[in-house]
Symmetry: C2
């Protein structure tokens, strides 16, 4: 796995006329090397591949990393790479300008004074975007766990619980059902708080008449799922039920349209047009979705501003939403795998409005 990915990366480096790539994004490092720790750097040249980390990770990196020379250093990652001559013989090296900080860039320049450095963002991301069968299986397994978590939540959610209690139950179910961890901070947003797309769970108690928005994800071997469902607790206001119908229609029309080879912004436009026609256009305040993999958010970005073309093998979220200040919010989010003629839905939970 690691070997094929490094070979593909070397082809990418050649296309960009680079003798080496300095990989600083931790997700990209995990993708290439298998290393899952929190402090590392990878350097790939035409003939060599290094993984640099610190002594806390000596054993873990030995367990996880294949096909890379490991450097366990103590001079800081860039200093250790320099001390071991990781860029020896390289004239032009790329670096990940979207993750390398300005301060690290200055260190690179200083430590490797004979090398010309070029910003080279997105090379590993372009490889990682197209999932191989094992990666698809991992995301599908994570999505299946999230589905089971959702079923479990339906069995225990009731008026009087706080948002935080519900988030805690989601987390407990998630790990109990086999997720390595929560893929991101769980969102539980009830009643008017549903109008905050990224609300943190609070001590607000669920009341009859609330819409409750649940957004959470699971991870398997580092691969993430990401799903949202919105429930009604008792009789919710008519306007919110209409918003629900509009979001559901937008979700379904986007799922029906999604396929590899399509421009990301065209898919966004399908859902956005659907919501606009329902009269809620100004309440859909975010993008339709995003790629998902070792990162919860990765390329392609499915937004009106995106210039990306989605490919078969991309896994993306489709998550239209409506947020009405003072009233509440609705979002329905699925993970889908794009293929040449359509998409495969990995999130199987029902999309109908469930009234508890």
């Amino acid at each position: 796995m690691s070997r094929e990915r490094v070979a593909a990366l070397r082809s990418g480096m050649k296309e960009h006329a680079l003798d080496a790539l300095v990989v600083s994004s931790l997700a990209n490092i995990r993708y290439l090397t298998g290393f899952s720790g929190s402090n590392a750097l990878a350097v790939v040249t035409a003939g060599k591949a290094f993984l640099i980390t610190d002594s806390r990770y000596a054993l873990q990196s030995a367990e996880e990393v294949r096909g890379f020379r490991r450097i366990i250093g103590r001079r800081g990652l860039l200093g250790d790479a320099a001390a071991r001559g990781a860029l020896r013989g390289c004239r032009t090296a790329g670096f990940e300008s979207d993750s390398l900080t300005y301060a690290q860039y200055r260190s690179l320049r200083k430590l490797f004074s004979g090398v010309r450095f070029k910003p080279a963002p997105g090379i590993v991301e372009a490889l990682a975007r197209i999932k191989d069968p094992q990666e698809v299986a991992d995301i599908a397994e994570a999505a299946a766990i999230s589905d089971r978590v959702f079923s479990g939540v339906l069995g225990l959610l009731r008026p009087g619980m706080t948002e935080r209690e519900i988030a805690s139950e989601i987390s407990r179910l998630n790990v109990g059902l086999g997720s390595e961890s929560d893929a991101f901070d769980i969102i539980v947003a009830s009643g008017p708080r549903g109008a905050l797309p990224h609300a943190r769970p609070t001590d607000r108690r669920i009341r009859k008449g609330d819409f409750v928005l649940l957004d959470f994800g699971s991870t398997i071997r580092g691969y993430c799922s990401d799903m949202t469902r919105t429930l009604a607790v008792g009789n919710a206001p008519r306007r919110l039920r209409e918003a629900y119908r509009a979001v559901r229609e937008a979700n379904e029309s986007a799922v029906a349209a999604a396929r590899g080879g399509m421009k990301a912004r065209d898919l966004d436009a399908v859902a956005r047009g659907s919501i606009r026609r329902s009269g809620f256009g100004r309440y859909f305040v975010h993008s339709l979705g995003h790629g998902i993999g070792l990162r919860v958010h990765e390329s392609p970005r499915v937004s009106p501003l995106s210039r990306e073309v989605m490919e078969s093998g991309n896994v993306i979220t489709i998550e239209p939403g409506i947020y009405i200040p003072g009233s509440g919010g609705v979002r329905i989010e699925d993970d889908v795998l794009l293929g040449p003629g359509g998409c495969r839905i990995l999130t199987k939970s029902p999309r109908e409005l469930i009234v508890l």
Copy 2:
């Protein structure tokens, strides 16, 4: 609060001869503005202060932010800042070179072509390092919750449970006892896995004779605690019990020595010397500790390489550890508030070896 902090920041800017500071670290943005979302930028000039975020956070930022003009944009944060003339009249602006990526730096240069940009790392960090009474109270409250979580875990941990089940219980107790969230990914490392300082919880089941290392934290209003305890389940090997004694002595000698005005590396040396004299010197593979606040890891770094002088009002961790490959690990970690004549221990759980 926000007003005093911005005033202190402006003094710092003056010392560095800066007309403005572009603040890109999310923890620093939260410290200055109160905003807790995941996408934002702050710009502070002599006369103005802007918080720029996107439409997902329109309501949340209105709830949280005081004393800053809010810009809810759609051109990307830097683009929105430029469109609103956030640096108008500024000749020299600092930026946070430890968090701004190289790509963002290039955008800054392009969008604000008349402004001279200077790397200015650590200005907000230097303010945030000295905690005010409310911040100390928040960290102390988070530490008290972690203590109660630890008591709860003692009541339920038993042989046969997996590391992941224990991590899940820690998380559930944490939120149930009032933590906003887990402060970081919980570490539960049992038996030989204890030798990995940053182990992720696995499906390994606890056996009699294991040492079990638990590292977790709580958050209150964003402020973190961070504690580690190591338990014995039944009769553990003598060498591990000796390691425990050595770590405990190192912890206690460092706690006895810690005070404001001390060099961070001198405090590290107290614990490191203690462990060396116990004969385990080569197994203490990380720094003694780190500052803690809105970030789990912040300045000062308490390591042999640190050049920082710790100040009264700093809250740091003291966490010596011994990691013996193939055998297991021990770490005892407390949060302490430094004062002029010593330190106040915020983590109150017992440091004696508990045998379950």
